[in-house]
Symmetry: C2
Subunit: 229 residues, 2 copies
């Protein structure tokens, strides 16, 4: 589903070059639960931004859903993301002046030709799954940190994407909400084959995934296949 | 140091009233490590915003450092915060177009008449303590989530505040960075008597504090004094 060969990402800041990712090669299969772990600043978000076609590698070959990402222009990348991918950003990226409902509904309006009635049912059902139904008409700047995180999670899932990139999706959640979110994701993975790729420091996520990649200083240092109970 | 009697906070949204905090009474002593825990949306951030004089209670009496907060106007509250308090916000609230160094230095410039040389030493020393020295000249929009969190932590500590309000300060940190931050806070608490008030879901913080308050649906449901080893 995703394959990267010798992927590097270099940020230029004037004279200075920062190698955020250094020759990473790996493959991810359909319907898997994958997690990237590693110290703060190690390159996890950068990795997810590449897989999520939000950014291009500086060198190397990256294929997502059989598509060579370097061959797409800006508009094609946006279209590709809208059709196939879902994002839970580390800082949520919700629209503060829209309601929870409007934020979660947004990708569905943009991307697919789904009748309003069906769209509404989809949004309400996901909000219910993340325990946010009673908050649906509040503005984003009127809810708590964990409520924003759950709205961001619901939004990532509305279009039934093939791949969900989840950057620290439980960082602001209590245990109960975190487990609820993980079982929702497991359910989607079983029912529609969604592939989930996490960047996380949360052991509750790491203990649930199939494959754990460890990154340190932009280098892939370990790959662990977890044995399922 | 802080005392609240029958504190309530009600948010009005048109016709709807939301009781975010419901008749909370408690007292906090100097130099303690206090944590508020509870489900997402339970009222922890609201509580910290009141203690941090960022917001006023709807009813009840709140005293912070012997001052009745309801007696202060907007300008006086800003001055009070600048002189006595430090904040680590749940969403960091850093200035994206300034560097890490500039963000951490900012409260020192605003509040105290400290010579530039001494100010620079203070900022560099704190950046070193949170492992951010090599990132000091990068803009906030050029660093990782956990790096932003550590910059926010350093910024909260530059003015040697009497009370630090820390809202989920380790949510985006790996274990090693989180422990480093907790020992820095312990050190400050011993050396200069800083009181730390946390809102958190992180067991690593909860196991380090002296007193744990549990909030559910805006109501204080438990107070636990932890026995020190
Ligand atoms: N400006 C506002 N207007 C209306 N309701 C609000 C506002 N700010 C917060 N609330 C509501 O008050 C309640 C408490 O919010 P608060 O941010 O204190 O929760 P929290 O315990 O910090 O949650 P989390 O763990 O998710 O960060 C929530 O239900 C939230 O939706
Ligand atoms: N736009 C940028 N310009 C320069 N350097 C950057 C930029 N974005 C990220 N970096 C650097 O690249 C490195 C990797 O960043 P990344 O955000 O991927 O880390 P991370 O593993 O997600 O960390 P965290 O756990 O703290 O979120 C960091 O050292 C960061 O400072
Ligand atoms: Mg990150
Ligand atoms: Mg909060």
């Amino acid at each position: 589903l995703i394959s990267c060969k010798e992927i590097s990402k270099i940020y230029k800041m004037g004279e200075v070059k920062i190698k955020a990712l250094n020759n990473i090669s790996l493959e991810i299969s359909k319907s898997q639960f994958i997690s990237f772990i590693g110290p703060s600043g190690s390159g996890k978000t950068t990795m997810l931004n590449l897989f999520g076609v939000l950014d291009k590698p500086t060198s190397g070959i990256l294929k997502v859903i059989d598509t060579d990402i370097s061959k797409l222009n800006y508009v094609e990348r946006a279209k590709f993301r809208g059709e196939h991918l879902g994002f839970i950003f580390q800082n949520f990226n919700l629209i503060p002046v829209l309601t929870v409902f409007e934020n979660v509904e947004y990708p569905l309006i943009m991307v697919k030709s789904i009748p309003p009635k069906e769209r509404k049912e989809k949004v309400l059902s996901l909000l219910d799954e993340v325990g946010m139904l009673d908050q649906k008409d509040k503005l984003i700047n009127q809810i708590s940190g964990g409520q924003k995180q759950r709205a961001a999670i619901a939004r990532a899932l509305t279009t039934d994407p093939k791949i969900v990139l989840a950057d620290e999706p439980t960082a602001n959640l209590d245990h109960k909400s975190a487990f609820k979110v993980m079982s929702l994701m497991r359910k989607l993975s079983h029912e529609i084959g969604t592939t989930f790729i996490f960047s996380t420091h949360d052991p509750k996520i790491v203990q649930e995934v199939d494959i754990i990649y460890t990154i340190e200083d932009g280098v892939l240092v370990n790959r662990e296949k977890r044995s399922k109970k």
